[in-house]
């Protein structure tokens, strides 16, 4: 089964949407973290500067206000301490850490990352903790320190809050992706659908478009141009083929009429039973064979050109098949005839072609039968339509019979074919007639020694008395 472009486009769009959403999630998370640290550092610098302007460093009023006002930390996050001369002045969740700064002077040897020249700001790892500390350059009475784990805790809290929204967010995202996919697929397929609609109106009988296909989008213009050119060539080719079959019919039948007429005249004029008459009869028979072959080839060429005679009449199929069965009983006494023919069936068809089809199938079942074999002839109603079936045992059935039986000039087992008249066109003609009547023809080899040909005629073309 062919893949669905619509489905493929849908999956691509869904995949791209997922990639975009996930990338956005991790990229946004990374950027938010960077921004939070920048903000933290700015706030730490502002607080330290505010503390350095205090007239009364002992009260530290402005300094504390700045700590509360500017600082990113609050009681929800914790993790920050304002130190004055090694003592804790204010804190959010840290009490004893000011001692760290006095006991570890190597804090201030780290790289200064402050953007303000008056402030020294460093990060330092100590016992599985990373600390961000700030002070006035050259004055370490006021020091500010913040724990990175507390910041991370705050961020994790934020990510958790965001993730808590996922059950609500995902269905919305999915619906939005679906809508987006539908809109995109529609936009992509619309020009193709327009092309399809134009091309659907084409048929071998009507291979010329009333007006060339137009493209709404310039990206499709080369594609449409190729199609229009192709259609023009197709139309020219069909017109030529139709003209050929019509011309060939006339041009061949006229000389054949002369040949046959003159040959029959010569046969009649020759002394009865003379070798001359026999030779002339042989010649006339060959002319008849030639006429038969040319009619077959002409029929195939008309089928190729879709120029077969479309006249339909009602034909009593049951009656014809009964006649065939009776005839085979009468003229082929060595064969056992198994007949099962539904009565009163009429087929609305091209009578001449349909008769040729049924007779070809019947003749094949006789020609390729075993000596003292049997012939199954049946006409039965089935769910899919009316089924005509010819079945016969056969010898030396080629392995590729089912696939190649309808190929032109296919004669199966060459050694055996030589002893049987024909040119390997019978079944290919049958196939063309079947296609023309919108029927189905299947050849099956059953049990390695029986060939069954099944013709299914749609109900709409059948009438039952």
């Amino acid at each position: 089964m062919n893949k669905s472009l619509r489905l493929r486009l849908f999956w691509i769009i869904m995949l791209l949407t997922s990639v975009v959403v996930l990338s956005n999630r991790y990229f946004a998370q990374y950027r938010a973290k960077v921004d939070v640290y920048n903000e933290l550092h700015q706030d730490m610098q502002k607080t330290v500067l505010a503390c350095s302007h205090e007239n009364d460093p002992t009260s530290l009023g402005l300094c504390k206000r700045a700590f509360f006002k500017n600082y990113l930390f609050n009681r929800y996050s914790g993790g920050a301490t304002l130190c004055h001369n090694g003592e804790v002045v204010e804190e959010f969740g840290l009490t004893q850490d000011c001692i760290l700064l006095s006991t570890h002077p190597d804090f201030w040897t780290e790289k200064d990352i402050s953007t303000d020249p008056q402030v020294q700001l460093v990060t330092h790892a100590l016992e599985d903790q990373v600390w961000h500390v700030a002070r006035m350059r050259g004055n370490d009475s006021i020091q500010l320190m913040a724990s990175e784990s507390a910041i991370q805790k705050l961020l994790n809290k934020l990510w958790q809050m965001r993730d808590n929204q996922l059950p609500l967010f995902f269905p919305i995202l999915f619906v939005m992706a679906l809508i987006m996919a539908a809109i995109l697929i529609r936009s992509i397929l619309n020009p193709l659908n327009a092309l399809k609609k134009s091309l659907e109106n084409l048929s071998p009988e009507k291979s010329k478009l009333e007006k060339p296909i137009q493209s709404v989008y310039r990206e499709f213009e080369p594609f449409v141009k190729v199609y229009n050119d192709l259609l023009q060539r197709l139309d020219a080719s069909f017109t030529k083929a139709k003209r050929f079959s019509a011309d060939a019919a006339h041009e061949l039948r006229t000389p054949f009429t002369i040949l046959r007429g003159q040959a029959e005249e010569l046969v009649a004029d020759a002394p009865v039973g003379s070798s001359l008459q026999i030779r002339l009869r042989g010649m006339a028979d060959e002319i008849d064979r030639l006429i038969g072959m040319s009619e077959k080839l002409l029929l195939l060429s008309r089928a190729d050109a879709h120029a077969m005679d479309n006249s339909r009449t009602e034909w009593e199929l049951s009656q014809f098949m009964n006649e065939l069965a009776d005839e085979s009983t009468s003229y082929h006494p060595n064969l056992t005839i198994r007949k099962s023919i539904a009565p009163g069936v009429t087929w609305c068809c091209n009578r001449g072609l349909a008769q040729q089809l049924i007779h070809n199938l019947y003749s094949n079942a006789l020609k390729y039968n075993r000596p003292h074999g049997w012939l199954g002839i049946s006409l039965q109603h089935t769910d899919s339509g009316l089924e005509v079936r010819f079945e016969n045992p056969s010898q030396h059935i080629p392995l590729d019979l089912s696939e190649k039986a309808f190929d032109r000039f296919y004669r199966g087992d060459q050694a055996r074919a030589k002893s049987i008249e024909g040119m390997g066109l019978g079944l290919s003609i049958c196939k063309e007639i079947v296609d023309f009547h919108q029927c189905l023809l299947v050849l099956e080899v059953t049990g390695m020694s029986t060939v069954a040909v099944r013709l299914t005629i749609p109900h709409k073309h059948i009438m039952t008395a």
């Binding site: 003159q262 046969v267 009619e295």
Partner: protein
């Protein structure tokens, strides 16, 4: 045979192909018809209006005036001369068009001239309002078309539908040899090569049914080896 005697029916053949015209004329003349030949539609129409023909054989693709147009003008003028169309167009649609334009019969090319002659006979008989033929006869063979019985000398036989049709076909022109192909076409209505020997089997059956005994070597149907079959015009004992 019960065929009514006609005073040399006069037939016009409008056919642009000289070779077709040649053998058709020869065959019809042998069968006792007077034939005039015209090569284009205009002169054909002119002659039909001028002369009183018993029948017209009309090709379709004619120079100057198409055969169908000729026929249309003829019928519009009220002329009822029987017309048989001879055409290379064999589709049902073409044949129906021919009949719609007023043709009495349609012979698709390539045709057997014997079949054409048989059609002419039937149409002329119809034109003459002759009573339908009841029996076909040769010297010792008689075929009753009503009871469908065959009688060969004193021997009566009941024939099957196909055997009857075959004998009837052969008896239309006693003495003429018909090939298997012609018989298949006219008796079995098979217009293609069915690649079967039903004709030979059917002839053998008729011969058996009309046989007067194991030592009877004379049969009403003669197999001309390598040529075909015929009913003898003047049969032996």
């Amino acid at each position: 045979m019960d065929t009514p005697k006609l005073p040399q029916p006069h037939i016009l053949l409008v056919e642009d192909d000289a070779k077709i015209a040649e053998f058709v004329i020869r065959s019809l003349q042998k069968s006792g018809y007077r034939v005039q030949h015209e090569t284009d539609g205009v002169s054909g129409l002119k002659h039909i209006f001028k002369n009183n023909y018993d029948l017209v054989l009309l090709d379709v693709m004619l120079p100057k005036l198409n055969g169908l147009e000729l026929l249309q003008q003829l019928r519009q003028d009220g002329n009822t001369t029987p017309v048989i169309i001879l055409s290379a167009k064999v589709d049902l649609h073409d044949r129906l068009t021919g009949f719609e334009f007023g043709a009495d019969d349609y012979m698709p090319k390539p045709f057997f001239v014997e079949e054409l002659t048989a059609k002419i006979k039937v149409i002329l008989a119809r034109k003459q309002n002759a009573s339908p033929v009841q029996k076909l006869r040769t010297t010792h063979l008689q075929l009753d078309l009503v009871s469908r019985k065959a009688q060969w000398h004193e021997m009566d036989a009941i024939l099957s539908q196909r055997e009857f049709s075959l004998l009837q076909y052969l008896m239309q022109t006693p003495g003429h040899i018909y090939s298997r192909q012609q018989i298949l076409k006219n008796v079995w209505d098979i217009h293609f090569d069915p690649e079967t020997n039903v004709v030979d089997v059917c002839v053998q059956r008729i011969k058996r049914k009309l046989s007067r005994g194991p030592n009877d070597h004379y049969a009403p149907i003669e197999s001309v080896r390598g040529v075909g079959y015929r009913v003898q015009a003047a049969a032996s004992p």
